[in-house]
Subunit: 336 residues, 4 copies
């Protein structure tokens, strides 16, 4: 149960509502976000919610029986729009394209990608400066120094930055230079990191875990939201299955189902999803038709020389082509 | 290794080629299909295939190292076209739509679907008269009697029939009245049934097994092909995963990968794929962009009253809408 | 709902019971097995079953809400014992060992295995004469001719035969020479084959499907049972997962859970289960402690030369050792 | 390639070895643990390792082609023994039992479990003070305050403590009061946490990820080891599969395979593994026969009242029984 409180509610009034709800057999959590204030009631009592709806200080009230509450579309029907400033938005109806290399490697590489994106009117660049790697002996990213250089050039090009955060201690630095913080599949259920991101005033994109259920993904989003940060995006990036013909099983079923369950934007990552360059294009276009609100994919001037993930990265010619086809497909979808 | 023999090759000549190939360390299987004659060589010797290419009676020769041979695109680059007669074809470039109920239930139901398809210019109707059911106590289909009635009406409407075959003893009857025999997911590796279908002069559509790998699906197709029947279609219909938010995990990754591996047409079944009516449309359109050669989905005048699978079946209004959108999406894909 | 009818019930009486049950909102199926006669009621009505229990001709009545009925332990608490004659039994409390090659290859091979089993007091030999193979070009077994030779020698050694049946047309021959017919993982949901096996007076062992759920396995058993044949065994043989360190994921969780759900004996197949010779022993012993009623594993004089599955087959020295340890482990389990 | 350096090697000598190895086409990482010093060479050159073996300062050299190196049994054949002090050890040959509640709840609860363990001669108690929970609204543990109380009583009883660490900032406190730090399944690939644990002088137990491959688990161990901490244990706790009859698919296949791949002790967690109280006993005993070096399971005076995981927790009578049977089974295994 979500009890939406009136803005500027008096502490005493809030306490009295809380006591009332507790007396009905619900445990309550008080959630204060950058946008509003809520009481979350957890319990199984079969009460008439109108009884609570009439209380002073209550703005609205919703029954949500799922494990997640505030990220549910049962409560908030209007889709969440993520505003990155300078007119860049990610929201239902529009379609966001994010592209760039797996890892940030050098100033030259950064500039080449920025130019490629600008030429195509793409407003958000992806890239990793902290890289989660299976082996401790592999390249782990350029860190904050790489990010600073990237930031400088991205500013010049007027392009926004999305990059991965791996632990709480990186948040402060990342917030200075990045526009969206991404939580990777392996940290999908790193609850302390999610808690810390709840306190941040930056958009956060959560990737589905390697074998994450949709319900778990939504509960992870609930962590960040109930921690105070409503600026959330979800990302389908492939799940683990028995099939070895591709790196991951890009699960497009997740797209329409998440769109129905939550008001948050849903992004598709075909690069990690299928993990094979030749098939990134069809899977990206399929994601558009499945209803995604955006796509994030890997591009690089010379994928064969990329420090990581080259096998699933498009070169600029392929990327040009893909962007053109995505836009035509989005236009068709909108026409329906 | 595939050795394509010249039409009308003399038995002696064939024997001499076979001896030569055996002497190089290969086991050979002689395959005679309705279209041609081949020697399949299985082995690991590192030979110069040109040595064999020059032999009398050899028309062409190809190295194919996969478990499947004759269904591989490495050998036959030109896509296979399935001709159902009366101008109805399934092939790459075109896009086939097949629709109809899960189970054939009654004459009235048959006619209502045929009319719906005809109104939309759809040329192939699906429906089951033999139904594989998890429980022995569930409805198992009307059998050949239902098929005869269906056939009669389908003839009138000029619409082709695709229906499931569950065991060899049904083949004779089905061949009389159906245009495509479908092998269901549960019989995907019923090798005796595949052998029997190799001897038939009817197109066969093989569904991927419930946890079938793409390699296994192609080897199942190899069974039918090497048994003599080249008229094959493959169908992606969802695999089993840990996720419970949908019935199956419709695996669109399979589409572009199968298209590259084989010359056979690849069909998508979003109804079984995701198993939830509300999401059949986005998944069907996604399948088009992923590169499918056709789609098969369930429709019924009143899905809520269907004998089986109602929860994943479209009503006619939804089906009208889907057909219109499929055609627009196919048109866009062709324009790329 | 299972209504157990009195032996020799008059047709009229049965009809009257059936009408009564139907009138309460249940669909009924009349099941006549080699052991008894039942009415299976499918429906959701909330009736007082005592009302039916008092009817003339009703011997007993049980509510079973699962998809499977007659194979449920909720109905029949006493474990099913499979009697192979000559004092050979498979049942709870005892522990059955079955061993032998993947494929029957030659008279010499047959005799060597029979001797090995006899030396160890093992009473049941496994071996395939019809082999389901992924590739149509692989060895498919010696067929009924191989079985006849096997039968002759097995008779001499006083050892029982378990072998796989792949299609209905093989049943007649197999019944002459085999003591248990095995349905393989790939035919697990071949419902026509299951129907046909319901009419046979021979024990049948059903292997779990490659991604078969326990519920599906039990419903497959229900097919055979409701077809008339109560002599059933179930077999866990590994499921498909994402892990590639072993051939299949031998799922020992299935053992205690099946033991609770059904009265049928539960057999473990560690050879297919883990698929790697070095680990067959620990997995077999683990299966004993998990509560299996028997084990089936592959053995061969020279596994390296076996026609199939050599990588998961024990040689006789390893098999001697395993049998000794199994018996010690069974003895410990019984002592608890 | 692992180059084991001589104790007290001079920096100059080390540098010269490193240069030599680099010149052969290998990238090197210098690893200094609490036990020794190593150069890890990553590359594909085909060199004669004896050439390096003769260099001054090199103690030994091993070729290990897997992704993990220092945790491989190919290098270190002797099993790693974890010494917790006061005569408590975890190592191959012995068998460690660890038990206790899912969550630490109260002083009374702590003492009841300690008494139960002491009565049974169990030397290690498990319990969570930081709890990873799917929902942000669930109980998250008593934190370090709970741990302090636990520590005080555990000292009195002479019992060691294993508890979960969720983020780097908790390590300092946990090291004061706990004897083994456990990394949970959800943090299995939290590489920053693994890095931080490499710098700690405390044993660390790594649980397999929810869909973690054995190779990934070993590479996670490599993170901690190459960070400096050789005191590692691995734990199988069930993987995610399609089957819904149990909470997780306890994967006993992992036990013998990990035992062959690594020199680290391998622990089995049947409570999380199968997730259902009634089956913890058979799965624990199966784990013994599969070759585990220890078992960790959940126990509580009144499982029905446990704050978390009650459905998979044994009461003390069940736990008494299980310990007795584990010991008898271990004795049998040793006798083989």
């Amino acid at each position: 149960m979500i009890i939406q409180l009136q803005p500027g509610i008096a502490p005493k009034q809030k306490e009295s509502i809380q006591q009332k709800v507790n007396s009905l057999g619900y445990k309550t959590t008080n959630v204060i976000t950058q946008e509003g204030e809520y009481l979350i009631g957890i319990g199984k009592s079969d009460i008439d919610i109108r009884e609570l709806g009439g209380l002073d200080g209550v703005s609205d009230i919703h029954r949500v029986s799922d494990g997640y509450k505030l990220v549910s579309r049962k409560w908030k029907v209007r889709p969440t729009s993520i505003n990155l400033g300078d007119g860049v938005k990610i929201c239902e109806g529009d379609f966001a394209i994010m592209s760039g290399p797996c890892s940030i490697e050098s100033e030259e590489q950064i500039v080449s990608v920025l130019q490629h994106l600008k030429d195509n009117g793409v407003q958000i660049m992806r890239g990793g400066v902290y890289k989660p790697r299976s082996s401790p002996y592999a390249f782990r990213g350029l860190g904050v120094e790489g990010l600073k250089i990237w930031y400088q050039h991205a500013q010049e090009f007027g392009i926004k930055i999305i990059t991965e955060v791996m632990q709480s201690s990186q948040i402060e630095d990342l917030c200075k230079y990045a526009d969206i913080l991404q939580v990777g599949a392996r940290n999908s259920q790193n609850f302390n990191l999610l808690d810390a991101l709840g306190e941040v005033d930056k958009p956060v994109m959560l990737k589905r875990g390697i074998s994450g259920s949709l319900d778990e993904l939504l509960q992870c989003a609930e962590y960040v939201f109930s921690g105070g940060n409503e600026k959330l995006l979800l990302c389908e990036r492939g799940i683990r299955s028995y099939e070895t013909a591709y790196r991951n099983t890009f699960d497009l079923n997740a797209i329409p189902i998440l769109k129905e369950k939550t008001h948050l934007p849903v992004i598709a990552d075909p690069s990690h999803g299928i993990g094979l360059r030749a098939y990134v294009e069809p899977m990206a276009l399929a994601a558009v038709m499945a209803g995604a609100d955006g796509v994030i994919y890997e591009s690089h001037a010379v994928p064969e020389k990329a420090f990581s993930d080259g096998q699933q990265t498009l070169n600029f010619a392929e990327s040009d082509e893909l962007i053109r086809k995505i836009r035509a497909t989005v236009a068709l979808r909108k026409s329906f």
